[in-house]
Subunit: 469 residues, 2 copies
């Protein structure tokens, strides 16, 4: 610990002379980043926490017992290094999957082929005996209008537009497809469909169906129809069989339930700032997850990395100038109620959030950050790039930050999101294989170290005050 | 194909006006890279080839039937897009593992704990009944001299220095440890040890022993001793038990065999240059692999990516200015005989190799390249960086290139190695879990696209002639 103490003291000395964002980064910053990475790769707790969240608690859908256990566990762990913890009450939707879904294709010779499906989050069930109907395959919501009610009524609509493999950033490919999942049932319901099957949001061909949130929008309740995802392999299979027998029948049975809202919590912990305690920096991920896997990448990784930021700074004896807070948001997956409540309370208390960092893109090898910030603020960020070069962190671009920090945008907070390598993310996203073994310890730790480094720099140098522009 | 033809023609037009390396990159280059990435991510063959190499052929140790099948298969495939193929004869060492290794720790109460070991490549067997001896644990070769013959004679030496987790580039951590595996038996043999056990070169704690090449150096044959790797989990276990019972016994049985050299082949295919056919650009990986897994990352990935470079250029109707050649080297793992033979023949034929690119760091998400080049040559490479930015390729640094292109260095060839993300590489390297399922299709394809793009740029702009300096 001697070396760490010395470095911490050196940094304190240097920071005493720092004049906010105008100062040049110093040798002390390089040393601090080295300490952060070294600690993260050798003694940090993130992987152990993720093991517990994933393997001891499991999938943490909003309103579930597991979500409540995760609230209690993380608060207990955060209390070990934070000077203050808080459970922030929030009402969240509760939806349960029920017994495993069952689906098959029935050809005109009455032979059947089982396929892998799962109910989309928020969907109603089928009737107890299941539904069986002909299938209309489309590749977009717009195509429904062209086809018209006559052909759609009484049928199951099959949305089969794949993610675009030529997009280098896979989140872009996801963004170009997810309307089918989110609004597919609403649109098909308008034309009298009896159900929808959506190709899983997955770039890979495999057997896992991927769930995710959906909405009936403004549809009248009597027009609500069951919605399920089908694995990419089985989407290809269904497409092939439809080309051979357009009158085939599709059977779907699911018994999920939409319940009323229940109380849950955002988990908050902080280390008070020594110089500017009223300037708040937050780092967070979402504590809820889908129910099929154990939510290790989405977003167990972001949760433990955010906790790790504070634990690392504490263990390195770093005394932050500003207040650094970890926020574990509840209900990102199907409502964003936790994020909205947090922003509402921050506003009500007139808290000055200068910077908010989110990790919700998986526990993969980190590449950098995307920012929701002004050009002047980006200039400051770019002046820090050289500090990250030894750690192969290169991506510092304007772009989306994250769903949970989004509601703070109105307050003028600089927002950012960790950007790990995205190539494998949708192999696991919202599926049964999003499990602990899919996360690499070093990659998780490198992400946490990269986040800690950025939080440290914002703590040292603050943000460009836009009111001065 | 229309769009591709148009782009190809546009590039030909532009290249006619290009004055080697002095020309600025153009819009045509950006379009060409976009075509390369799009083709690679949608229609390329690399993943299918890797499936065959891994699942149909399997591990391809030099001199094995599998290595021969790989030679025949890849030549057949390369002939589909190359204008010329060649099998270049080379004598390679042959070593076989025999029946599975068996090892256990025996405590002083005669209880035993089985541990996971594998013979190191090139090791002699134990006697048929196995060996049982006390254990001397060390963390370096140097430590043996300090301990001295008296304590080492008749014992098994256990090398247990782990890879350094704080190295961001994992190959650096590997380089800092691998002397234990390569020279451990030679050094311990000098002090009368009866065997060596080496902690696997793996940053992760798991149950897989990792093999790899070793050498007896100048040791007299009668002092050769069996050498095996032990999994990282079991290395930790052995260390713990030694701290409890320093007189514990270790049992090892392995029946590997060192045979005489046998004939094998480098596989070569090329597309002749249209303008400077005597300037040769090569791209390659090694066709041999270790025998425990199927060598998907090491180096099936590099093999199929190198083949893909030529297939992509051919399918895009690109007519190279210079001769572009794929070389699949035999025997990288335990002899480098293929690489030496290739360089020797190139010299004998006075072939002018201007650029040689190797892929032998796994099929992971590509980050860039390291180069063995002059400062002037690096300036040209850096002028291309902006073309790669849309593909998140950012790493263009001086450093090692690769073992197989290394022997060309004497000829003044610019050398480079693909640098994929290295965090997971040693989880699989030389172990039974280096299998097809550990390779992600998109990451493999992005690597091939990145290599194709660099080869295209070297073809267009050539290299700075150092004789002009």
């Amino acid at each position: 610990m001697n070396k760490l103490h010395t470095i911490g003291f050196f940094i304190l000395l240097c920071s005493a002379f720092a004049k906010a964002q105008l100062v040049q980064t110093s040798q002390a910053d390089s040393l601090m980043l080295k300490s952060i990475y070294d600690y993260s790769l050798t003694e940090s707790k993130s992987y152990e926490w993720l093991d517990y969240l994933s393997n001891n608690i499991g999938g943490r859908l909003s309103g579930s017992i597991q979500a409540q256990r995760a609230v209690e566990y993380t608060e207990k762990e955060i209390a070990k290094f934070a000077s203050r913890t808080e459970l922030q009450s929030v009402m969240v939707p509760k939806w349960t999957r029920g017994t495993p879904e069952f689906a098959y294709i029935q050809l005109n010779d009455f032979s059947t082929i089982n396929v892998n499906v799962c109910a989309l989050g928020g969907s109603i069930p089928t009737r107890e005996a299941g539904i069986k109907a002909g299938v209309v395959e489309v590749t977009s919501l717009e195509q429904l209008a062209q086809i018209g009610r006559k052909e759609i009524e009484g049928k199951i609509v099959f949305y089969n537009r794949p993610m675009d493999p030529t997009k280098i950033q896979t989140f872009e490919a996801y963004g170009g497809c997810v309307d089918q999942r989110y609004s597919g049932a609403e649109e098909a319901g308008k034309y009298g469909a009896v159900g929808v099957i959506v190709r899983s949001m997955n770039l890979r061909l495999d057997d896992y169906p991927h769930t995710g949130s959906m909405s009936y929008g403004d549809l009248d309740v009597e027009n609500y129809i069951p919605a399920a995802a089908i694995s990419t392999n089985d989407a290809e299979k269904l497409h092939t069989y439809l080309s051979l027998d357009k009158n085939l029948q599709f059977f779907l049975k699911q018994d999920c339930t939409v319940w009323g809202d229940v109380e849950s919590y955002n988990v908050i912990g902080e280390i008070k700032g020594t110089k500017y305690p009223n300037e708040v920096i937050i780092v967070g991920g979402h504590l809820d997850s889908w129910d099929l896997g154990d939510g290790s990448h989405d977003d167990g990784a972001g949760v433990v990395q955010s906790m790790q930021v504070l634990e690392t700074l504490k263990k390195l004896d770093y005394q932050p100038l500003r207040t650094i807070r970890v926020v574990l948001f509840m209900n990102e997956e199907n409502g964003l109620k936790g994020a909205r409540e947090y922003a509402k309370q921050a506003k009500a208390k007139s808290e000055n959030h200068i910077f908010a960092l989110e990790s919700d893109a998986g526990g993969f090898s980190p590449r950098g950050f995307s920012f929701d910030a002004t050009e002047d603020q980006m200039k400051v960020v770019h002046s820090w790039k050289k500090l990250f070069k030894p750690y192969l962190i290169h991506y510092f671009e304007k772009g989306g930050s994250g769903a949970d920090v989004g509601p703070l945008k109105d307050s003028g907070t600089v927002l950012a999101g960790l950007r790990p390598d995205s190539q494998r993310y949708f192999d696991f996203h919202h599926a049964a294989n999003d499990t602990f073994d899919a996360v690499n310890k070093r990659e998780l730790e490198l992400g946490a170290a990269t986040m800690t480094s950025l939080i440290y720099l914002f703590d040292q140098y603050g943000v460009v005050d836009n009111s001065m522009d």
